[in-house]
Point group: C2
Chain length 132, copies 2
């Protein structure tokens, strides 16, 4: 009874979420927002290396998906605050599970890679190219 319809379905759902969260920055952003509210500039500084454009797009997407709220204070200078919604918080929780796995598996994966690279000398440069 392995691989029932729900597995199939779950797989597609995961895919959706991964494409939603799978880009380089989204996870970092919601990670910073976990349990606190930050302004645009603060986020920009907190997520080292992100460009304004990408940060803006990332925030807009998360806002559109209902994962965070964007609050504009009509002051001078302008003040815009970002915070996770309850839905966003639950996503963080869900991702935490993956994070735990990642921490536990990291060493083993690194080791496997090294072994593979030495065992299969120049067999798959493309593969390594994709994971520097």
């Amino acid at each position: 009874m392995s691989r029932p319809e729900t597995d199939e379905e779950a797989c597609r759902q995961v895919l959706q979420i991964l494409s939603l969260v799978g880009d380089k920055w989204t996870v970092l952003v919601i990670g910073q927002l976990h349990g606190r509210t930050l302004r645009f500039g603060e986020l920009h500084r907190a997520v080292a290396g992100i460009s304004q454009r990408i940060l803006t797009l990332t925030l807009r997407q998360l806002e559109r998906d209902g994962l965070l709220t964007r609050t504009v204070h009509a002051t001078v200078p302008p003040r815009v605050e970002y915070a996770l919604t309850e839905l966003g918080d639950t996503l963080v929780d869900a991702l935490t599970g993956l994070g735990t796995w990642a921490i536990g598996a990291r060493a083993e994966i690194t080791q496997h890679r090294h072994h593979y690279d030495t065992t299969h000398p120049e067999m798959a440069p493309d593969v390594r190219k994709r994971r520097p």
Copy 2:
């Protein structure tokens, strides 16, 4: 005491894993491999729409990371079988958690998107463009 070092660290780890698993096909492939062994052609058919090139690259990467094994049977015609390793199985388990979240949140997210799109008419075409 929110956001201790471990959070920071976990976040990077998640990012690693997401970039490892976050592409369009990897999840589908390991999803198909969950609990069974498949040949290249079977996988190619099972994961509808994937090209041979991408399937090959995806499999190589997973093999390199120690998430699946590639067994070549020296027969004619050649027979190559792919199966998840124990590590790969644990990844599937970890992803299942995310899948569960995804299924539960899907409706709400869709609803939020719709609301956002009607509320912010042409405010963020780029955002919608990124999520058709």
